[in-house]
């Protein structure tokens, strides 16, 4: 058989032979279940993203197109020039083009493989015409904000605002898990005990009362009791403490509730009963069996928690005056800053798709029952 196979290969065209040898490993690599899975999921995500971009773009075109013009400058234009200014602006941003051309231009802006010239600085000339004074070549163009800093690039705005929010949310995530996991585990372990009852009360209480009230309470406690600054200052360590704690406080209850619930599910299962009959100590059962299994559904949510940390919290950032991204989308919507709305929506959509893919991959890693191949 081997001889026959060798002969068959030898008889082939040498170029074809080379190609087969060259592409075989690549082909095999893509046939690996995990690689194939990631590949397919990424491909699906790209299609979804494309649809989202299209949908968001078309929805925002339902807004009267006059709202896209540079409103601040419009105020400065003398009354007799206003009409002309409007027409010029619409022409400049291509808002008079047919919709499919605008859409195509938007795709082109997002295409990272093509360089585009983007005006980053402009001014009025003596006739109140807007003239560009500085161009920049960009690859991934989300456009320019209509409201922030005289037309800041959306990508720059994101790069400026996301890090603060990310730091804040990451710190609060760490605090949340560090407190909620032990609390949930303890409550599950001593179900029906005093701590469990108190914990359940705490969970119901924090879920029932709107978070904003807790934020205010902690704001006041921070100011009156600890004398911490009430305005956020990145360099001042003390001004981080209360916002981080306020953010954690409202999510501890929810996380502890899920930890407790997953733990209780596992504790009541038959394999725990059997493990106990094997003579394992309660702590060995808890950590080697129960916790390890209860953690699987929990771990799934961690990638998305990490990724969405950059979105920040609207209320917390508003209350402490934190220059983060929490209010960015809300403000962009209320101020009809359409390029920013478009840009943020696309970024958030991409983030959630990456988060769900990572969540699924992490679950595959921790749960051997999930197989990526089809029929078994």
């Amino acid at each position: 058989m081997d001889e026959l196979a060798q002969k068959k290969v030898k008889n082939k065209n040498p170029i074809l032979n080379f190609l087969i040898r060259f592409f075989k490993p690549i082909y095999n690599f893509f046939r690996k279940p995990l690689v194939k899975y990631i590949f397919i999921r990424t491909f699906d995500a790209c299609i979804t993203l494309f649809l989202i971009v299209t949908a968001v773009f078309l929805l925002l075109r339902m807004v009267p197109k006059e709202r896209f013009i540079d409103w601040d400058r419009f105020q400065k234009v003398p009354a007799e020039r206003k009409e002309q200014f409007k027409i010029d602006q619409l022409e400049k941003y291509g808002l008079n083009d047919p919709i499919h051309e605008q859409l195509f231009n938007y795709y082109n802006d997002l295409n990272p493989f093509v360089e585009k010239e983007l005006c980053v600085k402009d001014k009025f000339d003596e006739d109140y015409n807007v003239v560009c004074t500085k161009y920049e070549s960009v690859r991934f163009n989300l456009g320019k904000s209509l409201r922030y800093k005289n037309g800041a690039k959306v990508t720059d705005l994101i790069a400026e605002r996301f890090p603060v929010s990310f730091k804040l949310s990451m710190l609060s995530l760490v605090v949340t898990y560090a407190l909620a996991v032990p609390l949930g585990v303890y409550m599950a372990k001593n179900k029906g005990g005093l701590i469990d009852k108190l914990g359940n009360g705490f969970i119901v209480f924090t879920n029932a009362v709107p978070s904003l009230i807790f934020y205010y309470v902690w704001l006041i406690v921070g100011m009156k009791v600890f004398n911490f600054p009430s305005i956020f200052e990145p360099e001042d360590f003390r001004s981080w403490i209360i916002p981080v704690w306020a953010l954690s406080f409202v999510s501890i209850a929810g996380t502890a509730m899920w930890v407790r619930r997953y733990m209780v599910d596992e504790i009541n299962s038959d394999y725990v009963k059997f493990a106990r009959s094997k003579g394992l100590s309660e702590s060995a059962i808890m950590f080697k069996h129960v916790f390890r299994n209860a953690v699987v559904p929990l771990i799934r949510t961690i990638p998305s928690a990490l990724i969405f940390a950059v979105v920040g919290s609207y209320f917390v950032e508003m209350l402490w005056n934190i220059p983060g991204s929490g209010g960015l989308l809300v403000q962009a919507l209320t101020k009809v800053d359409n390029p920013l709305v478009q840009g943020l929506t696309i970024i958030y959509a991409a983030m959630s798709m990456v988060a769900s893919l990572l969540g699924d991959l992490v679950t595959v890693f921790f749960d051997p029952r999930i197989s990526l191949t089809k029929n078994k």
């Binding site: 394999y271 059997f274 009959s277 094997k278 003579g279 394992l280 060995a284 299994n293 749960d367």
Partner: protein, 352 residues
């Protein structure tokens, strides 16, 4: 079967608190278990079979307690053990248990191997490498083909019967004196059931351990047990050797139970069924607990609880029918000459 007692239960009583009401699940049970025997405990659901064996490993649910009596094992009264720590010396190590549902008895996210070695390292102080060798030997012994390779598999990669074999291997791993089998074959199909029963029987001889076998399947009992104890409403109402209970039953409940064997039914006729339901154990049971469901009940059955009457050295039954003043009652038609019927059935089915 030796005459050396391994467990002596004396007047054991178990109570549960259910929604602030007290339920007596085990009422005054006395039972001896002899070394090396296979003792089957039969009875309908809720008769207290499982609860009784749970007292041996301290595995009663949190709302239950042993409220009376003594359970002697190796010179120690198990009913007096309070701390979980003391139970750890007995549970698994001396008295192992296997449960009904093999599909959930194993941790779904841990490898088969590690679930066995865990016990070996804990109870027999083996190193990781030693435990692995021993675990593979055990897997082979319980009939897992290609054990070395399957050592690293997860439970979902095993079939139901194989999982029950693994569970048995885990129970064996600590070389227990007593193996409690809580309906170990109920969730398996009939052919696998027979294989597992044979395996348990073989292993009990080979490793010289005692088996307490809980079941409501009398067919299983006939196959495996040396002695049988019949439970009803938290009491043992008859016990004796397998032959005595099957072919010379004395208690009306045992008669009814045997008559319910579907194998004894005749084609075209309704199968026998016991009417009514067992008494509520929330209240004190007056007289013979089975009396209200018993068409043969005597008047005294409703008033006074019968004592255990001795039928032979090994055979006892708790019924007034054995009192010398009681009228003569005949066994139901269905189970007269049971031994011949069974022989005929086995012949029909071509079973050894």
């Amino acid at each position: 079967m030796s005459q050396e007692k391994i467990i002596e239960m004396r007047n054991v009583e178990v109570k549960f608190m259910v929604r602030d009401r007290e339920l007596t699940a085990i009422r005054d049970v006395s039972l001896d278990v002899y070394k090396g025997e296979i003792l089957a405990i039969v009875g309908e659901s809720g008769s207290g079979k499982s609860v009784l064996t749970k007292t041996l490993t301290g595995m009663l649910e949190a709302n239950g307690r042993i409220s009376g009596g003594e359970i002697w094992y190796e010179g120690q009264d198990l009913s007096k053990i309070g701390s979980n720590k003391d139970w750890l010396n007995i549970r698994g190590k001396k008295i192992a248990t296997i449960f009904q549902d093999q599909s959930t008895s194993l941790n779904p996210l841990k490898r088969i191997g590690s679930q066995i070695t865990e016990v070996l390292e804990l109870h027999r102080g083996m190193s990781k490498a030693e435990a692995k060798v021993e675990a593979i030997r055990l897997l082979e012994r319980v009939g897992i083909p290609n054990a070395t390779a399957r050592f690293r598999d997860y439970p979902f990669q095993y079939s139901g019967g194989m999982r029950q074999r693994v569970v048995i291997a885990i129970a064996l791993a600590c070389q227990p004196d007593i193996l409690i089998c809580d309906e170990p074959t109920t969730a398996l199909d009939v052919t696998i059931q027979a294989q597992i029963l044979d395996l348990i029987k073989e292993l009990s001889v080979e490793n010289n351990f005692t088996v307490l076998f809980i079941t409501h399947d009398l067919g299983v009992v006939a196959n495996i047990a040396d002695r049988v104890a019949v439970m009803y409403a938290g009491q043992i109402i008859e016990y004796g050797t397998s032959d005595e209970v099957f072919y010379d039953a004395r208690h009306p409940y045992t008669w009814a139970l045997l008559s319910s064997l579907p194998q004894l039914g005749t084609k075209g006729k309704d199968l026998f069924a016991i009417i009514g339901t067992p008494p509520s154990l929330f209240h004190k049971v007056e007289g013979d607990a089975f009396a209200p469901r018993n068409p043969l009940a005597l008047e005294i059955d409703f008033v006074e609880e019968p004592p255990m009457f001795k039928v032979s050295e090994t055979h006892y039954a708790k019924t007034w029918l054995l009192d010398e003043r009681a009228p003569q009652m005949n066994k139901p038609e269905a189970i007269v000459n049971l031994s011949e019927k069974v022989k005929k059935l086995r012949g029909d089915l071509n079973v050894k």
